[in-house]
Symmetry: C2
Subunit: 200 residues, 2 copies
């Protein structure tokens, strides 16, 4: 957590620091990101940074929180409107996609965080992963009880698949208009590869 001095800063200065940090952590994973570059980018002294944050990790986790906070504002909309399972799912990805479009740097920060291998981040990663898994699985279980989702699938495996696809999907098409491909991908997950006799 940042020190109180950080929050006493003028909003402009605070934003300048955040922005410089976001840019660096979007370009590089935690280990390769350079504090020296951040401070020189926002024009403050190296020592000042240590008045605001305990260390590099403290700053990093603060920025990661910022990114996820903003992302949550988007994806929560998907769960707000009450519709069927597959529509909610599609809306979830659409919102992730909008987030990536509107805040590409924050999106890169979350991506770098998610596939980070740094030892110091392991516990944080595990925490985030299990939270997401829990939320998704609750949502999935409802749909299974409602009879729209195949009950024979392992919910953990379903989460794994959706998460993997979501990550790459937003990564790959973050800057293009590709609504059609988007839906085709969700169709793959929805219908499965195996031919469906009942649809023919």
């Amino acid at each position: 957590m940042p020190k109180s001095t950080f929050f006493n800063l003028s909003p402009e200065k605070r934003c300048a620091i955040e922005q410089a940090a976001i840019e660096e952590f979007a370009r590089n994973p935690y280990e390769q990101a350079s504090l020296s570059k951040i401070v020189s980018a926002c024009g403050i002294a190296k020592g000042s940074m240590y008045q605001y944050f305990d260390d590099k990790l403290d700053l990093y986790l603060y920025i990661v929180d910022l990114a996820y906070g903003k992302k949550r504002q988007f994806v929560n909309k998907a769960f707000a409107l009450e519709t069927d399972f597959f529509s909610t799912l599609e809306e979830y990805y659409r919102q992730s996609y909008l987030f990536a479009q509107e805040y590409p740097l924050l999106h890169q920060v979350t991506n770098n965080f998610w596939d980070s291998r740094a030892d110091v981040l392991h516990s944080e990663l595990a925490k985030g992963r299990s939270t997401r898994a829990r939320d998704f699985q609750r949502f999935l279980t409802e749909a299974v009880h409602g009879g729209v989702v195949n009950p024979n699938l392992n919910p953990e495996a379903v989460f794994f698949v959706y998460h993997a696809v979501g990550k790459d999907l937003i990564d790959q098409f973050g800057c293009e208009e590709n609504g059609k491909f988007f839906k085709e991908i969700l169709d793959v997950l929805r219908y499965g590869l195996m031919i469906r006799e009942e649809l023919d």
Copy 2:
């Protein structure tokens, strides 16, 4: 490509160098891996390394090739035996899993390579991805013609999904003790989330 002096080395010395490099590149992505640690680990002088390889990248790509060469020995078995589409797919991931079990370090090397963000590796990565895409789509088209795969799905989208999931799945192989999980994941892709009337 290594210089000729490298191949003139005694097999023991060559293996010692390879082993030390493999360990370092398994632990760290390219950018963070340390040449100094590699040379001290295998007990040769720093300068000697530059008698064998042009630079760090040259050594790295050689090691990555080693890893993928070994991996190919495994996954090619999946395409050797003539069976149905879904069995081949399962066998492919089973072989990947076995590779990860038997050569965890090489497995980590391929993982680190695959989600590397280093600029110098971008072209190498793109090459690998397009090769995979071509192979997969040929394989998929056969299965569509054979009537086992839903012809309404966009083959490009199918590859996208399998690529994304396969990547993350293989990533997990190192730490998951459970060899069953990958089958459950393949089932998600095979059957799709939507309930299948014909199976109930």
